[in-house]
Symmetry: C2
Subunit: 472 residues, 2 copies
């Protein structure tokens, strides 16, 4: 055990025994450094580990506090168990019927896949659009289609470098949102009939894509807080001819799980041993509530095995449709595949985002957005504690804008989905997150919209619908 891990265990014991009470401030980094005779950076590592495990919470400019979840009424969901085997995927119709029904603008948007557009700096982005297009030389409207806007590529590479990652310029491919990046990664690593290791529960668009490309899913259980189960993944890799693995290492959709750094590294080494490429979907990475940004698995990659996909759609500008992939050894192949299907993402969108990243105050926007989402999460958790039936379990993710609820067994989430929709409330039922339509008693709720009286009432109504079904 490393020095910082030892310290983390000691402080965790202080919390579990109640010596450090919920809501109380943990010793400052300087203080702990003196007390334990270790460097401040070691203390920081320990605190970050405790934070990622949900025991501490960083408050800006005030230090670390013991999270106030010592005695919540709703427990955390547990790691689901399942057979490691491959499945044909046939869930696309169900997903579309759910998505179609979410489009009524008058419903309470707990089923929404995006945060509220009111949380994005749309007027500032319009200024960036206008300014960057006025300054663009005419030839760029055509020539930038091949490699992407050079300033945008530089700005994205700069953000990687802030996390200690120095990408060769050719590795970065701009795409029509993260979804095109993910689709291209999958296409260049598989043939119809191949096996892909995915998460259970998984992002539903991943399931649709497997179905469309006639790929088979090997579902690996995901721990609601710690991410994909490495033991199960290892069994899968050893027993099945898996071609590629697709997962979210931080703030996983729908669970919100984030793997800690050691686990990320271990997962990378496991895949490297088996020479199985990784498609790392990291679109929620900027929406962390912790003090420091989560690391990506890509940051451990030394042999170009990881395709790191992200976008601005969840944190800045959904309709601009700009994403990217840092594609390792697959870069050239993916670039060509994109040139053969959509040629290029829109040049005005790329130019606007480049300008915004350089001059628009992205970091300030992100701090505000994270703060808003963290408060909205607290409000939704608080309402769930009050209105949802006993036996309900819920995640408490350190970022993003989704909560995952495991409801009492008697509740069929597809039926609840219909009843809620009838009452003007949207939600995402569990079965759309599984190739085998598991998670029948689970739902995903979004707290991506500002919390108001209507949200509160909707939570109460949902609770009443649940109570009615359980007969409580």
């Amino acid at each position: 055990m490393k020095r910082y891990e030892k310290l983390a265990v000691e402080i965790a014991q202080l919390i579990h025994t109640g010596i450090l009470a919920p809501g109380e401030k943990a010793p400052s980094v300087r203080q702990a450094s003196r007390t334990y005779g270790i460097s401040p950076s070691t203390v920081f590592q320990a605190y970050y580990l405790l934070e990622s495990r949900g025991l501490l919470r960083a408050k800006e400019r005030s230090g670390y506090f013991v999270r106030d979840n010592g005695m919540p009424r709703l427990d955390e969901p547990q790691l689901s168990q399942q057979q490691i085997e491959s499945h044909e995927v046939g869930v696309s119709e169900l997903i579309f019927s759910v998505l179609d029904s979410l489009r009524d603008a008058s419903t309470v948007p707990f089923g929404s896949a995006f945060p509220s557009p009111e949380l994005f700096p749309l007027a500032r982005l319009t200024r960036s659009l206008s300014r960057s297009m006025k300054a663009m030389p005419a030839h760029a409207i055509i020539s930038d289609m091949t490699d992407g806007n050079p300033n945008l590529r530089r700005q994205i590479a700069l953000r990687y470098s802030r996390n200690g990652m120095f990408l060769p310029p050719n590795e970065l491919i701009i795409t029509n949102g993260a979804l095109e990046a993910l689709s291209l990664c999958l296409q260049c690593t598989t043939q119809p009939g191949d096996l892909v290791a995915i998460e259970a529960p998984a992002f539903y668009a991943c399931l649709q894509m497997l179905e469309r490309l006639q790929l088979k899913a090997v579902e690996i259980p995901v721990h609601p807080r710690e991410g994909i189960d490495l033991g199960s993944l290892q069994i899968a890799l050893e027993s099945l001819p898996i071609k590629v693995c697709w997962l979210m290492s931080s703030l996983q959709n729908p669970l919100g799980a984030s793997m800690h750094d050691e686990k990320k590294q271990a997962l990378y080494e496991l895949l490297r041993t088996h020479q199985v490429p990784l498609i790392e979907d990291d679109v929620y990475a900027e929406l962390y509530f912790s003090a420091a940004p989560p690391r990506s698995i890509k940051s451990y990659d030394r042999c170009g095995l990881v395709m790191h996909c992200s976008s601005f759609s969840k944190c800045l500008a959904p309709g601009y449709r700009v994403g990217w992939v840092a594609a390792g050894r697959f870069a050239e192949q993916i670039k060509r595949l994109r040139l053969m299907t959509t040629i290029s993402p829109a040049i005005p969108s790329q130019a606007a985002l480049a300008d915004y990243l350089q001059y628009g105050g992205y970091d300030l926007h992100l701090r505000r957005l994270r703060h808003a989402l963290e408060n909205q999460q607290a409000s939704m958790l608080d309402a769930a504690e009050r209105y949802f039936p006993i036996g309900t379990r819920v995640t408490r993710p350190l970022g993003g804008y989704f909560l995952w609820f495991e409801l009492p067994d008697s509740i069929d989430s597809l039926m609840l989905f219909q009843q809620a929709l009838h009452a003007g409330i949207s939600l995402a039922p569990g079965p759309i997150f599984s190739a085998t339509q598991r998670f029948k008693n689970c739902i995903r709720l979004s707290y991506g919209y500002p919390w108001d009286e209507r949200s509160e009432q909707a939570m109460q109504q949902l609770g009443q619908l649940m109570q009615k079904i359980t007969g409580a």
Copy 2:
């Protein structure tokens, strides 16, 4: 034979016998109407037919003139003959190596796939971007992703209606340029291993797409002026299990061929009899030099069999990446496929084009663009007449921005391509337009850039390179 066809034959005879001399004005519509005792609209139909067959040429506000191509030194290419059989496609690498080499901005851009950006109203489009995004309600940046910008859909539908086509609103799907539309159409009508009837020569991206989706090509010869050979297509449809047909009915790339209306209708009936869907790639339709816009095959479609694909990339705003498909009975399937791969084209691009179509003066821009391209075509043809070797054949298309040259047999166009590139001139060699790498002695040259001294010199240099190879 219909009334207008009879009149067309009579006037054609006047031209062929020299009674109406090259450059001479044909009788005005009113005059001809009186002379022959038929309605002005019948005269107009006859003139349009003669125009599409290259005998008359419309000059704005001055009437019809006999085309000055009675005695050109360079003949027209002839219909190529070939076996009707299916082929695996393996030309993508060659195409990429050619395309990569075209990217040097200092070369004379005869190989370019787009007209000069200087010909597009980019500053006006930037104003539309800025204005439309300022006026957009926040929720639209997310909600418009599902169905596309409603105003853009309306504006496109309005343009269809001007050509007498009234599309049901749900048929129109906005895509990331025409290429995504074409790709989605192909994906929703085929499975790996299926046969697709395509043109020979064909648009190279079509060949790349067949290769990527593991489809087999059945190449149908295309007449350099009149388009795809119906007899060959019929043989193919009767003898092979063709799943879908992909072609350009007007201003075909690379030949510039346009089918006349009766042929378009006959082709539609042939496909309908065999119930083979048609992917109609119509991206050059707005670049006609004739007095009236060409009809689409889609305009004859009564049973949703035709997927009509187009975009703004060749005539207005290449980097905006907005295209569409009027997808007939395949609309719902194609929409879902798009939602599963790129979700949506960029919302700012869509909003800007909607605003531009409504207020920007699109028709005026198109008239100017057509006029510029027509003059540039004349300059390139003129230079080719002067510099290219005897035995060269060339198309004289009624629109677009490509000439197709059939060079003396001894000229290998891939070798010429390399030598020209070395001399700072790009061009598109024939073999990239064929699944079987035919057209070895052919090249496609673009006149999409304003003609200048440098263009003139480049034509002379090309001519010298050709003369050197032929040893003349």
